[in-house]
Symmetry: C2
Subunit: 459 residues, 2 copies
């Protein structure tokens, strides 16, 4: 008997919580971004709760250094994700470790190696969230050139990921003989030199790190623009996304999965995991109170600055806060996020400040305020009606908001049979139900493909 389909869960651990005013709230540890042991406690709590993974975003800059508003932002200092996840790997056993690294400001050999090393340290629990970086503040930390245009960033990313996955196949799983008697360390026919020569990169290889028990790290993406979706359809194994409604989520889900066949991929090779910002109370009134308290802590300047960042750095503080969102030129930032926000403001007739307050928690992601039943009803609906394979939980505060989800929502998810009681496997791929990548580039790694070959061969 096949076990019932269960949803996957990520814990998106943005310090010190996703709400822009989180750090001022009593449920948040304001200095979490400088306290490794506190991060470990949170990751271990997520592991005890059997989350599939913890997820860390990244920004290669302090976005806001203005003397007027910068001082109010908790996103001014935080850990670099790969070092933090490597530390967490050492004191956890089963939870997946997903970190964000940009393809725009890195070299593929360096990135492939860092994640391969994390994957080996964690014994097969690493995941790489590919981003192309979308702010000018980041570009200014890496040279004089203006930031690459959106389309150029994606062309670079397309080639980047091929180099990375090629490097991850440098050695077959059984390449290392360690044969002390004969002196054979590895078998040369199981070592593959990449010799990549492309438009953006020239990388010889091989990579100097052994493959992990899960083959190579899981590939995560978040872009929802057209080039982002195409890249995801071809290469991603998890997509974090942001849709406000079930209908939008269903449309995105079926669109993305349909694109995969073009690349010879099965829809089950990719998990769609929308972000959700849950504010949970024992009653609806308690949940609404919690949310109102967070909203009360928003400094309007900080909220409008966050909104300005999210639409690609266009400074909205120069417009009346109570006036309408102006018609803005297209910027070079994240395309899909910008469009979502403008549509939201137009549809509901929001002022700048109202829009800023609206996105202060979930930053354009799906936001649900209610009881555990309310939240699980909505998760179940998206999951069973073709809108999601799982969810990336964005706690309003850390550690408080994650504890709320674990204590209140998880028991209800389990009561309905929607979430695991124990990990199914040891590696992240095993827990996510994702297949192990081919041992070399010339092997598809699909058990069914191998079966078909045998059938054909027998005919």
């Amino acid at each position: 008997m096949a076990s019932p389909r269960q949803l996957k869960l990520g814990a998106f651990l943005m310090s010190p919580g996703h709400h822009v005013a989180a750090w001022r709230h009593q449920d948040a540890q304001a200095d979490l971004g400088a306290d490794f042991k506190a991060y470990v406690r949170i990751a271990q709590a997520a592991e005890d709760a059997k989350f599939d993974l913890v997820f860390l975003d990244d920004t290669l800059a302090i976005k806001d250094t203005s003397p007027q508003t910068g001082r109010f932002s908790a996103r001014s200092a935080f850990f670099e994700p790969i070092t933090l996840l490597s530390g967490i790997a050492a004191v956890t056993e089963r939870i997946g470790l997903a970190g964000t690294v940009s393809t725009t400001f890195n070299e593929p050999y360096t990135l492939a190696r860092k994640f391969a090393s994390l994957d080996l340290i964690s014994q097969g629990r690493a995941a790489w969230n590919l981003v192309t970086s979308n702010t000018e503040a980041e570009a200014r930390n890496f040279g004089d050139d203006p930031h690459l245009l959106h389309a150029d960033r994606y062309r670079r990313a397309e080639e980047f990921i091929d180099v990375v996955t090629g490097l991850w196949a440098s050695f077959d799983d059984d390449a290392f003989a360690y044969d002390k008697a004969s002196g054979t360390f590895y078998q040369p026919d199981k070592m593959h030199v990449l010799n990549h020569k492309g438009v953006h990169f020239s990388v010889q290889g091989p990579l100097n790190v052994r493959r992990s028990p899960q083959g190579h790290p899981v590939v995560v993406q978040a872009g929802s623009s057209a080039p982002g979706m195409e890249l995801a359809a071809r290469t991603a194994e998890i997509v974090f996304t942001a849709q406000q409604t079930l209908a939008d989520a269903q449309a995105f889900y079926s669109d993305l999965k349909a694109r995969m066949s073009r690349y010879g991929r099965d829809p089950s090779d990719l998990l769609v995991m929308p972000g959700i910002f849950p504010v949970i109370g024992r009653t609806r009134a308690e949940a609404e109170d919690k949310f109102a308290r967070l909203q009360d802590l928003i400094d309007p300047k900080v909220g409008i600055r966050l909104l300005s960042d999210m639409i690609g750095g266009f400074d909205l503080s120069r417009y009346p806060a109570d006036g309408p969102v102006p018609d803005l030129p297209e910027t070079n930032g994240g395309k899909s996020r910008q469009q979502l926000l403008f549509e939201l403001a137009r549809k509901e007739g929001l002022s700048i400040l109202q829009l800023a307050r609206r996105i202060a928690g979930a930053r354009g992601h799906w936001q649900v305020v209610g009881t555990a039943e309310d939240i699980v009803d909505q998760l179940e609906e998206r999951f069973t009606k073709g809108g999601a394979d799982g969810f990336n939980i964005m706690p309003p505060t850390l550690p408080g908001g994650l504890n709320d989800f674990i204590e209140l929502a998880l028991p209800e998810l389990r009561r309905r049979g929607l979430f695991r009681i124990e990990y199914e496997g040891r590696t992240l791929r095993e827990n996510l139900g994702l297949r192990r990548p081919a041992t070399s580039r010339f092997d598809t790694g699909r058990p069914d493909a191998a079966c078909n070959d045998s059938v054909l061969a027998a005919e």
Copy 2:
């Protein structure tokens, strides 16, 4: 009463031991380069023994991919140092964590951030070993261009380290207020934007990681060429070096320390720690037997290939192994190492194979085979006669060779009062006796300077 001067010790953990044939020996774990938990046990053993630090070298490539010899080399797959050290940081408390990262194939913002994050994760135990990378194999993993010339690499490194230390001073130690009531996360006058515009780099800053309890990571260097020594005199806090004799060590030590005054630095701001490859037995005969067993495991092809790599990639396998070392053109590799080896071969009239076997263990570093007394006699002599402030122990095998040093040599060092019984402090700087760097770039950070100011102010 001042405590007697004691020497500092690093454990140089090259997997699976420094001898080129180490992995074939029974005292080495052949797959150490893929076994995180084994590395943790070794680091914890070094911490139990009160070593100042563990040290990881790095190469951004598999140097030897030839089907003839590559398969015999254990240096084909190993952990990336910063991920490995971040993992080790989570399960150790006091030992320093020194990792090698190249200035030639990285961006200063990325490097500053990784080490700042490791420094915070470890609560002030990180150290960065600056290298400029010296092989063509590495260059071929990072683009089409030929490898930068030696002098150009050093010019880039000079600017690189200034950007990195500038970024490490982005926030004063007390910049973060975390004041929930007023909403002030950090004090803006304690945040510094670097705005670096140089020949090689343009980096705005500030860095988005908080300073650690030791201020910033300890800066380590190893180059002994003229530009390398000048860079070290200006910026390094530890120098790993390789001299064969006491006279050479004394000359290097006094030369380097003398250069520091040009940069307004005190000789005590820099520790000279030569590498030593110790083969230790309970008797001299036992030590010599141990060494002979390792030498017997050398495959001549592998030994000559290592020698070729060490002189900058010039292929010596095309010459008769029993013939003299030919006159070679100057290459673009590590200058100081090349010169040391050629001088050694000339002075002792060694054949290619003899020279290869000679460097198969210590790779041009100082090699001592003997009892614990023999080894400690030599360490004491170098330490007390102006040749060293401490030593970087290069175990022939891992874990076996490190355990030998801990069990046999350390008790003798302690009997003579030359090494600590307990850590003096919590941070690496405290244990090394290095001063904490200034809290901002405009403060010298010297307690005596501050005192002088007070005296002047009182006059």
